[in-house]
């Protein structure tokens, strides 16, 4: 051993070492997800931990399974991950945080949100084409609530904004993944039949 670059040893390393290797990664990721104030992508987690994508994904699956029964759940939104409180504890959390029961979004906002969620992304024109009505204020209210965000601009005349859902969207509706949304029920088979939201963008 010529170099000694990793000489820094912390006493607590013994704890991590005593656990099986894979769980070491899972608990590191658990700690990272806990301190993060946003959703973290698998790539970011790989970058910070130095683990491969396959290892990170396996650790995340393990954590998602673990948190299925706990007071905290691990939500996945378009391949980004975030710890949130369990949806059924909403009333307790509201009481602790002193939050009022929020106002219900309008149906216009919910329709718009549904279109963005199932399409993965949508421009205002696409949304209005589906709804057959101006959707500007519905979009503005969804943006203000951080349920959708602008993901970029289309390379088309006018460079229209492309909207996509946020991880707050899942948390807001007590979902842990887009897979939990029901299948889009189109009566007749078509290209768009049985559309599920795409897993990532």
């Amino acid at each position: 051993m010529a170099t000694d670059s990793d000489a820094r040893t912390e006493p607590d390393d013994a704890v991590a070492d005593s656990l099986d290797g894979d769980f070491g990664l899972a608990r590191t990721i658990e700690g990272l997800l806990f301190v993060a104030d946003r959703a973290l992508s698998a790539a970011e987690l790989g970058g910070v931990t130095g683990a491969s994508d396959v290892e990170v994904q396996a650790a995340l699956r393990e954590l998602i399974a673990h948190y299925r029964t706990r007071g905290i759940v691990l939500l996945e939104h378009r391949n980004a991950f975030r710890l949130v409180s369990a949806p059924d504890l909403a009333d307790h959390c509201r009481r602790l945080l002193g939050l009022d029961q929020r106002r219900q979004p309008s149906r216009a906002a919910l329709e718009t949100l549904g279109i963005v969620a199932y399409r993965g992304q949508a421009t205002r024109a696409e949304i209005e084409r589906v709804r057959g009505v101006d959707s500007d204020s519905a979009l503005a209210s969804l943006l203000a609530r951080n349920l959708i965000r602008e993901a970029g601009r289309l390379d088309a005349p006018g460079r229209p904004a492309v909207f996509t859902t946020t991880d707050t969207f899942l948390a807001y509706f007590g979902l842990t993944s887009l897979d939990e949304l029901p299948e889009l029920d189109l009566d007749v088979a078509s290209d768009e039949a049985a559309v599920r939201p795409p897993p990532d963008v």
Partner: protein
């Protein structure tokens, strides 16, 4: 144009239906609701059954929904086309066929998203929702990189605070002494009127302590925002000059 549905003896095709203007948004929504009230399939020729109703309703709404009128007209014309096709032998060219199919498809897609909205609505009513952690990490972090901060963001955060619900005075209320921004604004205005320009260094030097300096500084911000004065600086660390926007000696 007697429809095969609806309450017998009603003069208006709309009679007996309780669809309020506030109850729907746009032509597709109206059409889906009319169809649902008839218990009909959303697709195909069954749309016929509500055509008259829709057209009558659209006619009634025409002026209230000026911005959506073209969309209503478009839907109504497609419905009329559907109806004419049912009443007459096939004479339509193919592009009209497409337009009819297109409407049926749009209705189907819209109805599906309406169902999604209902599902989301039900979830909210069930009251289940997850909460994120709001605490910021208490872990010691390395000092921020020098020069990386955006002073404009700092100021705009503060400005927002002063505009939303807090008088500026309370922000700069020093523990021991008070300086009113309004007084400083008046003072600076008077001096600008007489002198035309003021060097910030000299204004700052005249301040007894930091609290007064801050009150003065906030007053400068107010003057610039009011466009009573502009601020000029020669170079990054150059001296700062406050200049009256009015000609020296004017009014």
């Amino acid at each position: 144009m007697t429809a095969t549905w609806g309450p017998v003896g009603q003069e208006s095709a709309l009679g007996g239906f309780e669809i309020d203007i506030d109850d729907f948004e746009g032509p597709l929504d109206l059409l889906v609701q009319l169809i649902e009230k008839q218990g009909l399939d959303i697709t195909g020729v069954s749309v016929l059954a509500v055509t008259d109703q829709f057209v009558a309703f659209a006619h009634q709404l025409h002026e209230q929904f000026a911005e959506a009128a073209s969309e209503f007209l478009l839907v109504a014309s497609r419905l009329a086309l559907l109806k004419s096709r049912a009443l007459l032998p096939r004479v339509e060219p193919e592009d009209e066929e497409e337009s009819v199919d297109d409407l049926a498809e749009r209705l189907r897609v819209y109805a599906a998203f309406k169902a999604v909205a209902m599902d989301l609505d039900a979830r909210l009513r069930a009251g289940e929702s997850s909460f994120i952690r709001v605490a910021e990490p208490s872990l010691p972090q390395p000092s921020p990189e020098p020069g990386a901060g955006d002073l404009m963001r700092l100021l705009s955060a503060l400005e927002r605070l002063t505009q939303v619900d807090t008088p500026v005075e309370s922000l700069i209320e020093a523990p021991t002494r008070r300086f009113r921004v309004a007084d400083k604004v008046q003072d600076l205005q008077a001096r600008l009127r007489s002198q035309g320009t003021l060097a910030f260094d000299s204004i700052a030097a005249a301040c007894a302590d930091r609290a007064e300096l801050i009150a003065t500084f906030v007053a400068v911000l107010h003057l610039v925002r009011q466009r009573t004065a502009t601020v000029e600086q020669s170079g990054t660390f150059g001296s700062i000059v406050l200049r009256s926007t009015r000609e020296h000696g004017d009014g």
